[in-house]
Amino acid sequence: MSKILVIDDDIDLCEVTKAFFTPKGYQVEMFSEAGQALKAVLLGQLQPDVILVDLKMPMISGLEFIQKLKEQKIGIPVIVITAHRNVDTAMESIEAGAFDYVIKPLNFPQLMISVERALRFSMLRSENSTLKSAIQIKEGSELSEIRGKSPALLKVLDLAKRVAASKSNIYISGESGTGKEVLARSIHRMSGRSHNRFVAINCSAIPENLLESELFGHSKGAFTGATEKRIGLFQEAEGGTLFLDEIGDMPLALQAKLLRVIQDKKVKRVGENHEQELDLRIISATHKDLRSEIKKGLFREDLFFRLNVIPLHLPPLRERLEDILPLAEFFLKKYASLNEVNVKGFSRDAVAWLVKNSWKGNVRELENTIERAVVISRNSQIELDDLTRFDHELSPGLNSGEQEKSWNEQQSAVMPLDSIVKKYISHVLHLNRGAKDKTAKDLRIDRKTLYRKLQEIQQEEHLGATTN
């Protein structure tokens, strides 16, 4: 039995509408005040298939009612009843999200047609949504970027599928290179927020003083250099998902501000007093052990509990050995096709090495290794030598020929101190095969400094390339 909710402060019209629809097999609920009806719908006490609402009512108008339903992402079709015959009112109703509008005096046969159309639309939309999620679950299409069939990985993916539709914040833990951002993106695509933006920020890659204005935005003149008004990432992600990568590196002062945003669901730009409402989901990730950071006083426990509503842990590649070969095959096909080379498989020695290697840089390191091997391979299959030839001579992301020389060989000429520092950083990164954590540790600098220096190196390389 289809349910109709009628909201009109004119009780006579409510009753006559009920008297018309009830004998035709509809269940009709009446409300003379839109606020109470809204509350009942939002709390799930009423689950109508179609809503008829009067446009002009004393407390909450029909348009405001539609707006509030829209804000809560409730898609029940609403038919507006109006005593105004002008086109503007009708247009305004449809623009606000009404399914249809009818003009008083009520013409019941006409209202019946409108209600039946709304019910049909509601049914089709519900079927569409059910089919869409069934297809996604069957094919795992939204998770297709995450390769692997190990029980440890499948367990995480299964949980990710189940929680994607919820509104709760998600916390992804796992070593660098395990695919935390890929998983976060997949969760966003599977969620009801997929039509809005996925905004990602790496909290450790942005200098502390800029991170706040990146996240919150700023008004013009809020600080030196703020020449333009700018919206922050919180607002960019409105309606969608904000991915806070390396949340463990967020400064304590900013953690307090983030906590307030999560609690109040409001954001205030730097230099402004006005707060704006927010509707977004936060997915955070870090390679750090946040519980131990809490013990050291480096991470707020209350923020951790707010972020860690649904915890997902991506296991390192060494704990899911059965995923190494399928991943290697996948990257082989990908890079063979990209480079248009005819490399089709791995030699027996290469396979043995792939499985036995420790893969400290996880999937990212495996991908870089296979890409390199595909490019240098001269045979139809990857040999052990293709995988290990540049073990100590190349590192991902560094393309200078000088990388192939030893550090001592590079120091034949006098050069500015800054250049030596940058070259040495590149050299250590290269020795560590692109592992930034280890490089920062070896150089006894923090990750932020390393990222900043690497950014400078990239910019200089880019400038060099464009001027040459």
Binding site: D9, D10, I11, D12, L13, E15, V16, D54, K56, P58, A83, K104, P105, L106
Partner: protein
């Protein structure tokens, strides 16, 4: 139908009080309601009266409102004797 007429009689009494207090917002509200439901219940003349009442109340036209509330009373008398 009886209920509808009873409610209009209640509206009429409330309008008289509102008129004494010059509560134009309330009078406009009643006018709007009658404008909306009169036709639906088969009384187009009541819808017209409601429309006039709503606009007179919006203008704060006390004498015209008095006249219209009087007309509403006459209409009710006419229909209560008929029923």
């Amino acid at each position: 139908m009886q209920k509808y007429l009873e409610r209009r009689r209640a509206d009429y009494l409330a309008c008289q009080i509102a008129l004494r207090h010059q509560n134009f917002a309330f009078l406009a509200r009643v006018g709007h309601t009658i404008k909306g439901n009169g036709d639906t219940f088969g009384f187009p003349e009541l819808s017209t009266l409601g429309k006039e009442l709503e606009s007179a109340a919006a203008r704060g036209d006390f004498s015209h409102i008095t006249l219209l509330v009087g007309k509403l009373g006459d209409w009710l008398n006419c229909h209560s004797t008929a029923s």
